[in-house]
Symmetry: C2
Subunit: 242 residues, 2 copies
C-alpha cells in the first residue's frame, strides 16, 4: 500500500506524523513491529535516509524502540512513567525558562496544584513517604549546604508529598510543575533566616500529613506559598534596584 505525501513539505515529518497517528489511535498496538526500513521506503516511496529520520523523530518522543539483528526492527514502545516524567520535566522547564514566565505565576500554579494533592496525601501517606520528607528536612538544616542543594532537597521534599497521594497520574502531572520551578528557585539566594522559616514550615507540613490533618496541611502550604513569593520579591526588587 503506497501512502501519499506532500512532496513540497518535510517528508520525514509527514511520515513520522502518519506513524504517530497510527500509534495514538491504536492502529499500531504496543509491541507491534513496524515494517522494516526498506518496506517503509517502498510504502512511502522515499529513500531510506528519509525513513530513518522519521523513525528517529518517533524515538525522540519515546514512541518506538529499535532493535538490531535478524528479528529486529522498530517496535511500538509502551510509554512508561519514567520516560513520560522525563519528557514532561524537560518541556515544563523549557516552557518556563524560555518564556519569561514571572515567578509569581509559576509559583501560584505549583502551590495550587500541591494544595489539591495534600488532602489525598494526608489520607494515604505511608511511613515510607514520611521518612523521605523528614530526611529531606534534615538535609535542609545542614550547615554549609549550597543554595542549589537546598533547592534540590526542597524539590525532593515536595515530590515525596505528592507521591504520598498514591496516584501515579497525579504524580506525573505534578512532576512538571514542581521540577520546573527549580531553575527559578535557584535564582534566589536564601538567607539563613529564610531557610529556617522554610524548614519550620516543612516540619509543620510533615506533621500535619502524619496526623492526617488535611486542613492544617493546606494552611501550611498557603503560608509556604506566600512566604516563597515574598522571598522572591525581596530578591528581585533588590536585584532590579542595583
Amino acid at each position: 500500500m503506497k501512502t501519499k505525501l506532500d512532496p513540497s513539505a518535510d517528508l520525514s515529518a509527514q511520515i513520522a506524523a502518519a506513524i504517530r497517528d497510527a500509534i495514538i489511535d491504536g492502529t499500531l498496538p504496543v509491541d507491534e513491529r513496524l515494517p522494516s526500513e526498506i518496506e517503509l521506503c517502498e510504502q512511502f516511496d522515499v529513500s531510506r535516509s528519509t525513513v530513518r529520520e522519521a523513525l528517529k523523530r518517533l524515538a525522540a518522543q519515546s514512541l518506538i524502540r529499535t532493535q538490531r539483528g535478524a528479528t529486529g526492527g522498530a517496535f511500538v514502545k509502551r510509554l512508561n512513567y519514567a520516560d513520560a516524567y522525563a519528557q514532561q520535566i524537560t518541556t515544563s522547564t523549557l516552557l518556563l525558562s524560555m518564556n519569561e514566565v514571572d515567578f509569581a505565576t509559576a509559583c501560584e500554579a505549583r502551590f495550587t496544584l500541591e494544595r489539591a494533592c495534600a488532602p489525598l496525601s494526608a489520607k494515604r501517606r505511608t511511613p515510607d513517604h514520611l521518612a523521605t520528607m523528614r530526611a529531606e528536612i534534615h538535609r535542609q538544616g545542614q550547615i554549609g549546604l549550597s543554595d542549589e542543594a537546598f533547592c534540590a532537597s526542597d524539590v525532593a521534599f515536595h515530590r515525596a508529598l505528592v507521591d504520598a497521594a498514591h496516584n501515579p497520574v497525579l504524580s506525573y502531572q505534578l512532576a512538571g510543575a514542581v521540577e520546573a520551578m527549580q531553575p527559578l528557585m535557584n535564582m534566589i539566594t536564601f538567607t539563613a533566616r529564610d531557610r529556617d522559616k522554610i524548614i519550620r514550615l516543612h516540619t509543620d507540613l510533615a506533621n500535619a500529613i502524619e496526623q492526617e490533618n488535611a486542613v492544617e496541611a493546606d494552611r501550611v502550604l498557603q503560608t509556604l506559598a506566600s512566604e516563597t513569593n515574598a522571598m522572591a520579591d525581596t530578591v528581585f526588587t533588590a536585584r532590579a534596584g542595583r
Copy 2:
C-alpha cells in the same frame, strides 16, 4: 573543538543529548544558530546522516527549528505554549492508554486538579470564558449528538473552566489531565439521563463561577467527579458481566 562520543552506543542519540543539554542549561540561548550540519560532522567526527538524525530528534521535541537557504540552519526554538500543549497531551494520552490506568485513578487526578483550579477561576473569570462554557453546555443538550461529540464538548467546557483561572502555567499543566481523559470517556456510552445529569451539573458550575462562588463550584465538581465514576462503574461492570 572535537567532542568525544561512545562509539558503541547510538551516535545520533548521544549528539542529540549533548545539544539538548546545552539548550536546557542555557549554553545555547533562544534563536541561537547551531553550527551547520557540516560543522557538526567535524565537531563530532561523524557523517552527515548521523548529524541529521540527531537534529531530527531535537526537532521532534520542538527544541530546534530549521531553515533552508544561505542564511539558514538550525536554530534554538523558543518553546511556545501551543507546542508544549500538544506534546503534553500526546504524552498524557499515551501514558493512560498504554498502561491500563484504571478509570478511577485518572478520574481522581483530573478532578483533584480541576478543583484546585476552580477558586482561581471563580475569582478571575471573564465574560469570554463564561460564554464558552455556556455555549458548550448548549451544545451538550442538542439531540442526536454522538457520544464522541458529547465528550469533546465536555473537554472544551472543562478547558474553558481551567483557562478562566488566567494562569497559563496552570492551563498547560491541566491540559494533559483533561484531554487525556477523553479516550477513556469515549469508552462510556451515556444514557439520556446521564447526559441530563451532567448538563445540570455543568450549568450549576457555570453559575457558581459566574457568581464567584468558589465553595459552590467545589461542591459541584465533587458531585461531578463521583457521578462520573458511578457512570463508568455501571458501564464497566455491565461490560465485564457479558
